[in-house]
Symmetry: C3
Subunit: 171 residues, 3 copies
Amino acid sequence: MTKAGKLIYITGGARSGKSSFAERQALRLSGHAVTYLATAQAFDGEMRARIERHQSDRPAEWITLEEPLDVVAALQTAHTPTVLLDCLSLWVSNLMLAEREDGEVLARVDDLLRHNSATLIVVSNEVGLGIVPDNALARRYRDLLGWANQHFAAAADEAHLLVSGLPLRLK
Amino acid sequence: MTKAGKLIYITGGARSGKSSFAERQALRLSGHAVTYLATAQAFDGEMRARIERHQSDRPAEWITLEEPLDVVAALQTAHTPTVLLDCLSLWVSNLMLAEREDGEVLARVDDLLRHNSATLIVVSNEVGLGIVPDNALARRYRDLLGWANQHFAAAADEAHLLVSGLPLRLK
Amino acid sequence: MTKAGKLIYITGGARSGKSSFAERQALRLSGHAVTYLATAQAFDGEMRARIERHQSDRPAEWITLEEPLDVVAALQTAHTPTVLLDCLSLWVSNLMLAEREDGEVLARVDDLLRHNSATLIVVSNEVGLGIVPDNALARRYRDLLGWANQHFAAAADEAHLLVSGLPLRLK
């Protein structure tokens, strides 16, 4: 039940190069022995195109798991030394859309931190640096993801902010 | 009329850990001898909940002043060695909603910088890193807060950007 | 056809002090021998006011070129040792509004990187750190500018993120 694996936290805005940076880190740490744990769900053609574009960028030898909600269970089926979770922000969004309460979402996030035995590289998003959104759901998501990000960043051994494809070391 | 106190400027996005970081700095500098100068006004239940959640996180011995508009006068009534102003971004918003012109808002901001004799810790927000907002009021706020932030950051002895709860030193 | 000039990339949010920082760099490097290459187009009074406010801040000796679309050709007419391009983000927006495809926009961006013989200082914007925009055009712009920014930042000799008027060195 205790965290043993190394945690690398990578955050940034949309199209800031987070996923590419995370993939380079995974490749450097474990070569082809990487599990890619995807939380994305293709609701429409735009999302499907994003997912496929990302897939074709990754080494063919990597194992891909797709799990929008029960990410903790999926992580426990991974047997590679490194797991890349892409991304925390969609996982939080999926849990919210599945009508989980805030406390439950954060409890799942903390579960993940406790059940991690591999080296875990986590990609997330910064969504709180614009004007306050008009709609309440977007404000709730912004708060909830902000807290989830803080939990991960606090527990992380390394943390990086990506800006225009370049990393800034946070920790 | 001249600034004598130390100025610590803390900025970041929503839920980036700015207030917690500012409170830890205040506690470290002055223990229980801190005035907390709040600019928040509770217009609705959501805002009231935010204010109360923040209050319960602070030491009970801290003196709390609430002042949405005349922050300069409120600051002069404080007698503790450290004052924590949370936050500049709501103060600017309050002044805008009270129909002050841009020049007048920035003049008030500069007054604060001149009348500060305590150690002043100021929390603000970054709101300019999203897509250009559709409505003109939001764009005006984004500009005005951006200028106010620049005035404070330029005058600051220390400046920090919070990301996912972790500080990046700006100055 | 090969890039020979130095490239300085400057990014940040709205009102973060990017243009002022870029102008100070240009002044420091080349004094009055600077070409200011503006991509802004005044569609309305608000934009015209922004353009004029910026112009009056710059040295009168600087040469100003205004070119919303064919920035590569405009750059080749510049004969000063330093060119300041302000800004990449509006150029990308102008190309999108002129109905160029994504691939064509990025090809133009890469052309600029290849045809640069002067010291080129490029200002851009970070627009991907807020909530995902509702409208598809804004999402497309966010993606496209993110990629353009990554191309410039990767090619840059120096890169800076401006926050509240203060620079963070990215590279």
